[in-house]
Symmetry: C2
C-alpha cells in the first residue's frame, strides 16, 4: 500500500463535520476498501475560530490555495450555493483533482461546464449526495440502469415540504400553521423559500432528468410550483378521492404527436393515490420512484437530508474516486448524447382534480362538462354532491396538455353557475 | 468510435432472449453510452432447433469454444446452475473475457474462486441480476455505501414465496392451497423446492452478506428454513399482533459479548409489523431493506424476477464492463478484507412469537413464564385470552440466542399445563 491519498474539505458545517468524523472513525476500513489510506490534508472554512474540533493546522481560509495545492488528490465540496463553490470546483478540476460534491444548486445550474472541466482534466466529478441524501439514486441511474430505457421518474426529494404536507394531512392544519411547526422543530430553515417554493426539488429534478435521459437539463428548464398555495381543503379533497398530496419532482420522456421525443421536467404539488408506493413516504423521508421499459417499476427510499446520511453518500463517492485514482482510471461522466428537447409545461400532458361549488340546478353539470370539452379536455370521473341550492362537483380529468387544463380552470371561474373553484391540483399515478 | 465489442451469450431462455432483444432494440443507445457498438457474436444453447428466432449462424452447441474464441470480448452467462456454468465462466475469465452473470447459485457457492480468476486475469465479473432481479442492490452496496458501515440487510428476495405468503394472508388459505394456486398461475415452478425451501433466498443472502460485510459468505454458511411449515394459524396469529408473515433473508453484523464482530446470515419466515416498509411488499415484488450507521434506513424495491427485469440488470452490468473494456480499466472486485467469522444460528440473537393453548387455571402463566426465565429468555409481551377451561397465551420475547428460544419451545411442549403449541415464528423489525 502506497502513501495516503490527500483530501481537501471545503466547508465544515453539518455535513462537513460528519464527513470528517467518519473519515477518521473508518480510516482502517476505508484504506482496505480503497487500497490506500485517505488523509484529510486541509479544511477550508470562513471562520476558523468556529471550528475548535478541527486540528488548527488543517484549517485555512484560503480555499483556492488549498484546492490547487500540489499534494491534494481529492476535493470534497460541501459549501453549497453557486459562488465561491463554482470557482473552487473549477479550479480543483483544472488542477487535476477529482471532486466529490453535495451541491445540487450548482450542479443543476452549471453541470455541463463542470463535467466538461472534469472530462478535459481526465478526473472524476461525483455528486450522489446532491439528490435525496443517503439514497443511492444517481449511481443506479448512471450505471445499473444504463442498459435500459427510462420512461419516468417521480420523486419526493424535499424533506421539509414532505414533513409539512404530512402534518397537514395528519392534523388538518393549513400551510402556515404546519410551516410554523416545521420551523419550530428545525425541519424548516428560518428562510424556507428554497424548500417551500420548490427550488431545491427543481435542482434535484434537473440532475435526475439529465442522467436519466442523457440530455442536459438545467434548473431553469424545470417547471416549478411550491406548496405555499396548498390549502387544507386541497388536502381533505385529496383524502376524499383516496389520494394524498405530495410535492413531486417528475421527469418524463414524452413522445409528441409528430413522433419526436422530448423530456418534461416539473416540480409541483399533486394528489397521488394512497395505494401508490410514494404515498406512504412520510415525514422527512425521501423516495424516488423509477419506471423503466425493461426493469419496470423501482423505488428507492431513505433519508434525504441530515449530516450523517449526506456524509454517507459523500464518502461512497469518495471511495469511488479514490479507487479510480489508485487504479489510474477515471469514471465516465454522464453522457448528453440524446440531447432531447425540453418540453414546455404548457405542452406537457397532465391530469387535474378540480372541486367546484356550483348552483344546484338543471344544466349546470352539462355546462361545466361543455367547458372542459371545448378545451379538448376529457373527463375521467365526476362526483356531484347536492346540499340545499348548492352542489359540489369533484372532477378528475384524463390526460391533456397542461395549458388546456389551466385554460379550462380560468374559463370555469368566469361561469355564472360556478360560485367558486375550491380546489385545483394535478393528479399523478392514477391508472 | 472503434469496431464493435463482441459478446457471447450463454443460454437463451427467458432471460437470454430478453437480453438478445434489448441488445438489438437499443443498439444505438448502447453504443452511445459505451463509446463503441456492442455486437452479439455467438449464442450457445443446448438445442439450436428450439431457437428459430436467433440467426442460425450465431447458434452453437459448443459453449466452451465460444467463450474462448479470440474475437469475443464479453460473456453473458444466463444458463444458471452450477455446471457447466462454472467451467464456462472460469474458461471465459481465464481467456481474458469479462463476464456478466445472473447465476445466484454459482456465485453463492463459488464466488471466491470466480472472483480470484477475474482478478488474476484483470477482467470484470458482475452479477447484479443474481439478486432481486431488476433492483439495483449489489452496485449500491459495493459502491454507494462503500464509505459507510452496514449493520443489517433484511430482504424479501424470492417472489414465489412472497406471492404464496401474500395469498395466504389475503385468503386465509393454507400453504398447500396457496402453492397450488401459484403453480397454476406460473408463479411457482413445477418443482418449487428451490423457492419454497429457501435455497434461492439463501444464495442471494450469501451474496448480499459477502458484499455488505467484506467477508466471504457462501450458501452453506446460511441458516435456511422454508415456508412449507407456515400454517394458516401462523398467518392469522401474525395479523392479531399487527404483523404479517414474510420469508426474510437477513444479514447482520453481530457484536459478541467478547466484543468480537461476526456476521449472521439466515433465511426463514418471520412476522414483521405491518408498519414496516417491507410489510407492504406484496405479490411477486422484491425489496431489500438496508441499515447503515451513517445512511440510516434505506429500501430498494422492484421486480425481482422475469425475463425483462432480469435482462435490464444484465444489460446495466454489460454497459459497465463494456465501458471498462473501452477505457482499459477493470472494476475492483469485492473485497473480503474484513473476513469476519460466520456466527452459528444457535448463537444468533432472535425474537420469537409463541402461541400456546393452556389450561385456564391459576399458576399456568407463572409456570410458562418460569420456563422462559430458566432458559434466560426475557418476555416482551403476553396476551392471555380465556375461553371456558382453556386459555390462549400469545407471547413475544425479547432478543435471545436462537438456541435458548428453541430450547424453551421444546420444554414448553413437555409441560402438562400446555395443551398445544399452536404457532411459533420468529419476529423481526419490532422496536
Amino acid at each position: 500500500m502506497n502513501g495516503p491519498l490527500k483530501v481537501a474539505l471545503l466547508g465544515c458545517g453539518t455535513v462537513g463535520s460528519a464527513v470528517l468524523r467518519l473519515l477518521q472513525e473508518q480510516s482502517g476500513d476505508l484504506a482496505a476498501r480503497i487500497g490506500r489510506p485517505v488523509e484529510v490534508a486541509g479544511v477550508a472554512v470562513r471562520r476558523p475560530q468556529h471550528h475548535p474540533d478541527v486540528p488548527a493546522d488543517l484549517l485555512t481560509t484560503d480555499a483556492h490555495a488549498l484546492v490547487t495545492r500540489d499534494d491534494i488528490d481529492l476535493v470534497v465540496e460541501v459549501i453549497g450555493g453557486i459562488e465561491p463553490a463554482r470557482s473552487l470546483m473549477l479550479a480543483a478540476l483544472e488542477s487535476g483533482k477529482s471532486v466529490v460534491s453535495a451541491n445540487k444548486a450548482l450542479l443543476a445550474e452549471d453541470g455541463v461546464a463542470l463535467h466538461a472541466a472534469a472530462a478535459k482534466a481526465g478526473v472524476d466529478l461525483y455528486y450522489e449526495a446532491a439528490v435525496a441524501g443517503a439514497i443511492p439514486i444517481l449511481r443506479p441511474l448512471r450505471e445499473s440502469l444504463a442498459g435500459d430505457q427510462l420512461s419516468r421518474i417521480v420523486g419526493i426529494v424535499n424533506g421539509t415540504t414532505n414533513y409539512i404536507l404530512s402534518r397537514m394531512a395528519e392534523t388538518g392544519a393549513g400551510f402556515g400553521e404546519a410551516l410554523a411547526e416545521a420551523t419550530d422543530l428545525g425541519y424548516a430553515e428560518a428562510d424556507p423559500t428554497a424548500d417551500v417554493d420548490g427550488f431545491d426539488a427543481a435542482a434535484k429534478a434537473a440532475i435526475l432528468a439529465s442522467l436519466a435521459f442523457h440530455t442536459p437539463v438545467s434548473a431553469a428548464d424545470v417547471h416549478r410550483e411550491g406548496i405555499s398555495t396548498v390549502t387544507a381543503t386541497d388536502v381533505s379533497r385529496a383524502a376524499e378521492i383516496g389520494c394524498t398530496v405530495k410535492l413531486l419532482a417528475i421527469c418524463e420522456r414524452v413522445t409528441g404527436e409528430d413522433g419526436n421525443e422530448s423530456v418534461a421536467v416539473r416540480v409541483h404539488p399533486a394528489m397521488i393515490p394512497t395505494s401508490h408506493p410514494l404515498a406512504s413516504v412520510g415525514g422527512a423521508f425521501n423516495a424516488v420512484f423509477v419506471e423503466a421499459e425493461a426493469a419496470g417499476q423501482l423505488m428507492f427510499y431513505g433519508q434525504g437530508a441530515g449530516g450523517e446520511p449526506t456524509a454517507s453518500a459523500v464518502l461512497g463517492d469518495l471511495v469511488a474516486v479514490a479507487r479510480n485514482r489508485v487504479t489510474g482510471a477515471a469514471g465516465q461522466g454522464p453522457s448528453g448524447y440524446a440531447d432531447l428537447a425540453v418540453r414546455p409545461m404548457d405542452e406537457t400532458p397532465t391530469r387535474y382534480h378540480v372541486s367546484l361549488d356550483v348552483a344546484d340546478k338543471p344544466g349546470v353539470l352539462a355546462a361545466v362538462a361543455q367547458e372542459f370539452a371545448q378545451h379538448g379536455v376529457s373527463i375521467s370521473t365526476v362526483r356531484q354532491t347536492g346540499r340545499g341550492d348548492a352542489a359540489t362537483l369533484v372532477i378528475v380529468t384524463h390526460s391533456a396538455p397542461d395549458a388546456a387544463l389551466s385554460a379550462t380552470i380560468a374559463a370555469l371561474r368566469e361561469m355564472p353557475a360556478v360560485r367558486g373553484v375550491t380546489s385545483v391540483l394535478r393528479v399523478e399515478g392514477l391508472s
